[in-house]
Amino acid sequence: MISAKQICFGYKKEDQVLNGLSLDLEHPGIYGLLGKNGTGKTTLLKLLAGSLFPDQGQVYIDSISTQERHISSLQQVYYLAERTESPDWPARRLGNIYGKLYPNFDQTQYLHYLNVFEVNPDIGNKSLSMGQQKKVEISFALATQVPYLFMDEPTNGLDILSKKQFRKLISQYTSEQQILIISTHQFREIDRIIDRLLIMDNKDLVLNQSLEVIGEQFLFSDAPSADEQLLYQDEGILGKYGLYTNPSKRISTLDIELLFTAICERPGLLKNIQNYENNF
């Protein structure tokens, strides 16, 4: 389990990016991390992974503080950065060398992922396009099979087909014990594969909930019944399509974009809703 307790962090003393954020990641699954630009999504991922240390509070990976940089903790986490960071090696060598650092790394699976992405494993990284370099890093990240995998804007630079392949690989090969957090602005790219939603706003995590519970509490509909109260409607939308309360637990298709906009524009929206699975 990864646990963050009342963490504060700022790149400058006077400018806090996160302020008193708490989070427990114990349920395996695919998490979508959403937030406006500059709300601290990347910072949160780096803090959870142990690349940054909080100014106040602590982050623990299986009860070990990330500041200890314990090998057993580092072997359980992989952080896929937004920009490609791999050295100028062929993908095969990347797996042969760095793969040995992760106990569950599977070279065969790695080559299989590369094959799915149609990347030649014997071509140097610099000879590949940016999208292909990203595919190599995604393949490596998946092949590590670490319990905690963090991906920061993984689909940036991928073409439409590759985004499809990415979604397919994620849903097919993420193990049931794995926690995968995908930070992205592209809601529609992840809405079909995520199990849980994390939304950041105002230097804090305002929503941490499974899609199932969100679906029970909110209705996304253009035909509400009398007892379903309108919570938010996008400006310029014709008809009654909007976000409603869901007292009768009706099933509707989750509209992440609408939910996200509603939360950002109406901060009081979640006041009476079970927005945290852990109440700190």
Binding site: S51, I71, L74, A81, S86, P87
Partner: protein, 269 residues
């Protein structure tokens, strides 16, 4: 118990170091070769003049004096200059660990991150020293084969029946102490550079240049002192020799390792 050191991870780190910087290493090796050729064919001109001479022309007495003199030390010192390129390698390695999140989070302990560049630097310096040794052997043997008999004959005719052949003459190999002192100098410089680079939070180009100039200045000062030592015998105790120097270096190495390890521990990206 904390796992801080593991041989298989160290091997992975050294493989990473090798594949990342083998091109730099090749450049260094090539530079040593080029400098050796340039120094022996252009700067000393002895071999160059020999190749360009008319068939009947023999060695001059001035050249015979030059051959037994010690001024080759200047040129031979130059052959060690490419080893200074270990500094950019250390810079690149530290920059990678300090700026790439995925590398920073790889399961390497602080001790492993400390030892990877140090062992890598030792390996580079060792292989380059072997290259210099082989080149020195080849050139010295060539000088002996081509000029020794003629030079001795000419010097005898000039009245020097038992001429004094300088330690660093064209006819003598580098002494082992020269390799050891050069190796030691570069190693100490590498440690200081690592500590300097890790101490600076942001690795800007200007800071790197400042460090480079500082270390280059120390190197040139050391080079000048060596030159004076060997030619005028002004310093009785040679630099980098003897047990006190060895103990001092071991102490320096241990302190440096702890400082570097501590600085790696502090790293955040």
């Amino acid at each position: 118990m904390k796992t801080t050191f593991n041989l298989s991870r160290l091997r992975v780190g050294l493989a990473e170091f090798y594949y990342l910087y083998r091109k730099n290493f090749r450049t260094m090796a090539l530079l040593v070769l080029i400098l050796a050729i340039v120094c022996n064919f252009y700067l000393s001109k002895i071999l160059f003049d020999f190749m360009m001479r008319d068939g009947k022309e023999s060695l001059s007495i001035a050249t015979a004096h030059q051959l037994i003199g010690g001024k080759l030390i200047i040129m031979r010192q130059l052959m060690f200059a490419p080893m200074l390129l270990t500094i950019p390698i250390l810079y690149q390695f530290i920059k990678r660990v300090r700026t790439k999140v995925s590398r920073n989070l790889m399961p390497f302990s602080n001790w492993e991150n400390t030892l990877i560049p140090i062992l890598g630097t030792i390996a580079i310096l060792f292989v380059l020293s072997v290259e210099i040794f082989l080149l020195d052997t080849a050139f010295t043997q060539t000088y002996r084969w081509l000029f020794y008999d003629d030079a001795m004959r000419l010097l005898a005719q000039d009245g020097q029946l038992y001429p004094y052949i300088e330690r660093y003459s064209y006819f003598n190999f580098f002494p082992l102490s020269h390799y050891l002192s050069s190796f030691n100098n570069f190693f100490v410089i590498s440690l200081i550079v690592m500590i300097g680079l890790l101490s600076t939070w942001k690795l800007s180009f200007l800071r790197l240049m400042g460090l480079f100039l500082l270390v280059g200045g120390i190197y040139l000062a050391n080079f000048w002192i060596s030159f004076r030592t060997y030619n005028w015998i002004m310093i009785a105790i040679e630099n980098n020799n003897g047990i006190p120097q060895f103990i001092c270096n071991i102490g320096l190495l241990i302190i440096s390792l702890y400082i570097i390890k501590h600085l790696f521990k502090e790293s955040q990206v």
